[in-house]
């Protein structure tokens, strides 16, 4: 099964793909010229026809999102989400660092279609190298008349600001990202109003993911019809899957929607290392529920995934073999969400911390007899019913419910791993809660010091 080469073609095939000269000789900015000769509404229509869905996680149709901007309200902004923090997602890093001109071209086209004259790219703070590559690319474009007062010799003007965050997963949520870009703590806003109505500086704002915008030039140059002919039903086109874990060939693979989950592991990833059996797969980043081997012949498609109770999210794809301890994995995911909770909503701020602590003591043999019930109770306060996590929640954003997803997955597939540990637990029910920020290896000393 071949890899597709649409948005990954230049960065795979062209040496020094991040430089302006290499990109130009490869045809960069031809699609932008074509778009600038079209009516903005016609560009929007092509993207709608393509059926392109946001690649940041939610999978919302991009053309529809663009259509939400109110007419006649200016200024308006385009914000590019490169705050790639979902565990096991590393595609936007590669797309930005290796092919920044594809992204800039997508930004030009989207800005033209939307009537935007100032765009912001928000990169996670740790992306020092992608930031430098993009920053330099923007400077080169300004010097060559590709950005600035007269974009590609037209009357259209566009400025792009590159902005680094400073270490906060929650800023990948679009309203938290806007707060952060305004110089605030990155806490999600209550919607409505949606960013399309009142986003950055309370102005109409579109927030799009890096991969989404990197796809747009190809839709303009080859047509929305062509793009919608790729993929599977309502999941059109290709996407970059960040495949990692216990596979022989981890990496970013551009796949066409419509293959199976197993194809991704076997055909692209080269199968599981040492021919071992698969224990579970986390198909959409830390926020998704898990799949087991029996599920893997399902089609890789947004709707099929939702039917399985999982999500495709940002394209993350983690494969874990039979040597993996599901309780340890659930704890590590909960630790992530506990660390990254912004603290705005009580169920998440308190609940993610407790899920982390309870899983930690179960994992290390100090669980209390009622800990499994307690875990489900705390989880249920964030994501009612638990099993619907991360799709049901009592919080403003999905971070809290995402922390319940690993608990729901334990409940569905690995309850025995939890209950057997509780049966073997070495303590009664009066043990103090230990410091869950400590790591596994500190556990015994930590607990003994409390006893």
């Amino acid at each position: 099964m071949p890899e597709h080469r649409i948005i990954t073609r230049r960065l795979r095939d062209v040496p020094q793909s991040w430089t302006l000269d290499a990109a130009l000789s490869d045809g960069a900015y031809q699609a932008a010229r074509k778009a600038l000769a079209m009516e903005p509404s016609a560009v929007q229509e092509e993207v709608k026809t393509a059926g392109l869905r946001g690649r940041g996680g939610a999978g919302f149709p991009t053309g529809v999102k663009w259509g939400f901007l109110p007419e006649g309200s200016f200024p308006r902004y385009l914000v590019v989400n490169c705050d790639e923090g979902e565990p096991c997602t590393f595609k936007d890093r590669e797309l930005t660092a290796q092919d920044p001109h594809q992204l800039i071209e997508g930004i030009i086209i989207a800005s033209w279609a939307l009537g935007v004259h100032k765009a912001f790219v928000y990169l996670r703070g740790e992306f020092a190298e992608p930031f430098d590559r993009l920053f330099d690319a923007v400077q080169d474009c300004k010097a060559r008349g590709i950005l600035g007062d007269r974009v590609l010799d037209t009357d259209f003007s566009l400025d792009i600001v590159c902005h680094r965050g400073a270490g906060a997963y929650i800023c990948g949520e679009e309203t938290a990202l806007i707060e952060s870009l305004e110089g605030e703590r990155g806490m999600p806003r209550i919607k409505p109003p949606f960013p399309a109505i009142a986003g950055l500086y309370a102005k109409p704002t579109v927030v799009n993911n890096v991969e989404t915008l990197s796809t747009v030039p190809h839709i303009v140059s080859r047509g929305g019809e062509w793009y919608s002919g790729l993929g599977y039903e309502r999941s059109t086109g290709t996407r970059v899957v960040s495949l990692a874990g216990h596979v022989n060939r981890p990496g970013n693979y551009e796949i066409e929607f419509g293959c199976t989950f197993r194809d991704i592991i076997e055909e692209y990833g080269g199968g599981v290392r040492d021919g071992r059996a698969i224990k579970f797969v986390i198909p959409g980043g830390a926020s998704s529920q898990w799949l087991v081997d029996a599920d893997l012949d399902a089609i890789y498609d947004f709707e099929v995934a939702a039917g399985l109770g999982v999500m495709l999210g940002s394209g993350s794809f983690m494969v874990f073999d039979e040597t993996t301890d599901p309780v340890q994995m659930a704890w590590r995911l909960a630790k992530f969400f506990s660390h990254e909770s912004c603290g705005k909503c009580t169920p998440c701020r308190e609940g993610t911390g407790w899920i982390n602590k309870i899983l930690y003591r179960i994992l290390n043999g100090y669980g209390r007899p009622n800990d499994w019930d307690l875990l489900l109770q705390v989880g249920g306060q964030i994501s009612p019913g638990v099993t619907k996590a991360p799709f049901a929640g009592t919080t403003i954003c999905p971070l809290g419910p995402s922390c319940v997803a690993p608990v729901a997955s334990l409940l569905k597939y690995f309850e025995d791993d939890v209950t057997s540990r509780l049966r073997d637990s070495s303590v009664g029910d009066l043990i103090p809660v230990v410091n869950a920020d400590a790591t596994v290896h500190d556990a015994d000393a930590e607990v003994e010091s409390h006893v």
Binding site: P75, E84, G85, E86, P87, C88, T89, F90, D92, R93, K118, R124, G125, E126, F127, A128, E129, F131, D132, F135, V161, C162, H163, R164, G165, A166, G167, A168, Y169, S180, E182, G183, E184, R185, G186, Y201, S242, L243, A244, G245, P250, G251, N252, I282, A286, M318, F320, T323, T324, Q328, M329, R332, L333, F336, H339, E340, C342, T439, V440, H441
Partner: protein, 170 residues
């Protein structure tokens, strides 16, 4: 006297000018001062707040939300070891604990555990002043840190700014 060097005063002004509202420059300004000084002091917070037109409390309120900013001096080299799921099952905790033990008494090196570094196909991995180092063993991780210490590798600023300028974003 500004907390910024004369060159960085210019950079700071350029950063603020990028945004319709000056407060948007808070995060880049904190990166700038951290690359310059290695950490963020009370004096820096007060001056940055004045530059963007908010109170020191507001500026600190924003800054304290984000894990990359250091409120105490750290070593010249900040080693950030990813222990997220894929790294964890490939021995990241052994590397984290090995580095912590090796550099516990070394004032030049600060080792920290971080969440996903977005390099899960090349695990275990770490960043040194936000430069990636991937597919590590404990021995290769120590060797890389030693190369920074000896000057064989040139480090970025503590906030990830370019090595040659000592400051990012400008």
């Amino acid at each position: 006297m500004s907390v910024f060097t004369p060159r960085n005063v210019e950079r700071a002004q350029a950063l603020i000018a990028q945004y319709p509202e000056p407060k948007s420059a808070l995060l880049p300004l904190f990166h700038l001062i951290q690359d310059q000084d290695g950490w963020v002091s009370d004096e820096s917070i007060a001056e940055i707040a004045a530059l963007v037109g908010c109170t020191a409390a507001e500026a600190q309120g924003t800054m304290s939300f984000y894990t990359m900013y250091k409120r105490q001096p750290v070593g010249r080299f900040l080693v950030s070891v990813c222990t997220c799921p894929v790294s964890m099952v490939h021995g990241a905790y052994e590397i984290l604990h090995g580095l912590e033990a090796r550099y516990a008494e070394d004032p030049d090196v600060t080792v920290e555990e971080v969440e996903c570094n977005a390099a899960c196909d090349k695990v275990p991995n770490m960043q040194v002043n936000y430069e990636y180092h991937e597919n590590l063993t404990l021995a290769s991780a120590i060797q890389i840190v030693e190369e920074y210490k000896s000057g064989a590798r040139v480090a970025r600023g503590i906030s990830g700014g370019r090595a040659e300028s000592g400051a990012s974003n400008a």
